[in-house]
């Protein structure tokens, strides 16, 4: 009962309360309060995440599985960043309270934590992000093939937009007078027409569909019809 019924009750009750709270004047701030709670909960949950990170990597190191050296690097980087961040090592003291070490600013470029952010974290993440430039190219080559009407529309639209994005578009069609009957052949015109009318309509319908999907999913959960989130059998580890 404690393992199945209580969680369902908690879920139904908290869901229903949040729906009603939106309509009750004195309860409008509840969603903010709950948001703060969940941020704290997520912070506490890091104990689980960090624990898992440690277990997995320590296990790899101790059993000398292939690639254990990388696990050691991960752990070293993790503990270094965690230590300089939590203890604010090398932080710049707060001018108003120079005696309180932990009030210092640990995120400036002058502290080890800020240095790590500027020269390790940030270049790594932004280069990872920048890899997308390569993948859009390979995806365009591979996936934009005119196999049927649907794919012709997909690649045709992408083609028009790509052309219109650069000077090539104006070079090719810029000579068509703007006020003329053929102005719709101008690439810049086509780009605006596609984004403003067709894309807006498509995105609107997708959004309406998603909203209904979210609502139905929420209802399935609140009404206790979808119970797939519940654990079954023995204790969790």
């Amino acid at each position: 009962m404690l393992q199945r019924t209580v969680p369902i009750m908690i879920l139904c009750l908290s869901g229903a309360v949040m729906v009603l709270a939106y309509f009750i004047t004195s309860a409008v701030s509840w969603s903010e309060t709950v948001n703060v709670w969940f941020n704290v909960l997520a912070a506490v949950a890091y104990v689980l995440g960090a624990g898992n990170l440690l277990t997995v990597n320590l296990e790899k190191i101790s059993s000398q599985r292939p690639g254990w050296g990388y696990s050691a690097i991960t752990l070293a980087a993790f503990f270094f960043m965690l230590t300089v961040g939590l203890f604010k090592i090398g932080a710049v003291p707060d001018p108003a309270h120079p005696t309180v070490h932990l009030a210092g600013d640990y995120e400036t470029a002058a502290s080890p934590y800020g240095w790590m952010y500027d020269w390790v974290f940030s270049p790594l993440t932004s280069t990872m992000f920048a890899l997308l430039a390569f993948y859009v190219a390979s995806a365009a080559f591979r996936a934009f093939r005119a196999k049927n009407i649907e794919s012709i529309l997909l690649l045709g639209t992408a083609f028009i937009i790509l052309l219109a994005q650069t000077a090539a578009g104006m070079f090719l069609t810029g000579w068509i007078p703007e006020g003329s009957a053929f102005a719709f052949l101008r690439l810049d015109w086509m780009k605006i027409a596609i984004t403003e009318y067709i894309q807006t309509a498509g995105m609107r319908a997708i959004t309406i569909g998603i909203a209904l999907g979210v609502a139905a999913t929420s209802l399935r959960l609140i009404l206790g019809i979808d119970k797939s989130y519940l654990p079954k059998g023995g204790g969790a580890a």
Partner: protein, 300 residues
């Protein structure tokens, strides 16, 4: 015994918290008394919510009463069994990515419920299922869901926590680790179900390069183009939310999908009537007022 006391203490704490929460309101009681305690400005919204909710509830009730439930096939979901079967034959693993958001995003909740269904099939086939997560709480929820799936499949002994791991909260750190393990372990089937941002194409292109069958589902409109272009099957927006109900095969859940259709009918009706009124309003101003009122009601 400990559980009951814990539960009792929980109830008292929650009650105390609720009391405290309402305190600011009590403090302002003199003015509050003269004010509405209900947000009357939000009543139109309440009406629409009740309408949508009752449509879903009615569809569920109808399904329960034994009325046949017909749902069109979703190719992406029919491919789930095939993809896992193929992975089993090839002796390779199955990768499931539940998005990069926390459980506070309903897409992640939907992703984890789909994970449960996928895990059940994987357990039946005895395929290895890898679930890297970007959040600690998602890791916990995913472990619960996969363990439950193994129980349902009648193979609790094959479950292990070891394949469901937290990596890092950082979007691109997570991507680096998952794409790295993709090219090393070469899973034969990749599922991307949840909230995705820029990483969608990074996953999909790397998955393609290792020859995996890729099935994606997300309600993040900006990432749909990349999944549609680069994956074998994509659940688009609403289809993604219908997927977990569809895969469950339960009458109640399938009924709720029909409820969603009623909601779309309602939306289409409002749009048709509204546009007709607005068009007629070009000549008959009174009707244009009707269209304006409709638009205003919906906050458009």
């Amino acid at each position: 015994m400990t559980a009951t006391t814990m539960q009792r203490s929980l109830t008292t704490t929650v009650a105390a918290a609720l009391l405290v929460l309402s305190q600011p309101a009590l403090a302002q009681a003199p003015e509050a008394a003269t004010q509405d305690w209900i947000r009357t400005d939000r009543l139109p919204l309440l009406l629409v919510i009740v309408l949508v909710a009752s449509a879903v509830a009615a569809a569920i009730a109808l399904a329960r009463s034994g009325r046949p439930v017909k749902i069109r096939r979703l190719a992406a979901l029919d491919a789930v069994d095939e993809a896992i079967g193929r992975a089993t034959e090839m002796g390779r693993s199955v990768l499931f990515v539940p998005g990069i958001q926390d459980m506070t995003d309903i897409q992640t909740v939907a992703g984890v419920t789909i994970l449960g269904r996928v895990a059940k099939t994987a357990a039946e086939y005895d395929a290895k299922l890898e679930v890297p997560t970007c959040r600690s709480i998602v890791m916990s929820a995913a472990r619960d869901a996969v363990r439950a799936a193994h129980f349902e499949a009648g193979r609790p002994e094959t479950y292990t926590d070891a394949n469901i791991n937290y990596l890092t909260d950082e979007q691109f750190g997570y991507v680096a680790a998952v794409t790295g393990s993709m090219v090393r372990d070469k899973p034969a089937a990749c599922f991307y179900m949840g909230a995705f941002y820029a990483e969608s194409l990074l996953f999909a292109e790397n998955g393609n390069s290792i020859g995996a069958i890729q099935i994606a589902g997300t309600a993040e409109p900006s990432q749909l183009p990349f999944f549609v272009a680069a994956c074998d099957y994509t659940l688009i927006g609403e289809e993604f939310f219908a997927a977990s109900a569809y895969l469950s095969g339960e009458r109640d859940q399938l009924g709720s999908i029909q409820g969603q259709d009623l909601g779309k009918l309602f939306a289409a009706a409002v749009i048709v009537i509204g546009c007709a009124l607005a068009t007629a309003g070009i000549w008959i101003p009174k009707l244009a007022g009707g269209a304006d009122a409709l638009r205003k009601y919906f906050g458009g």
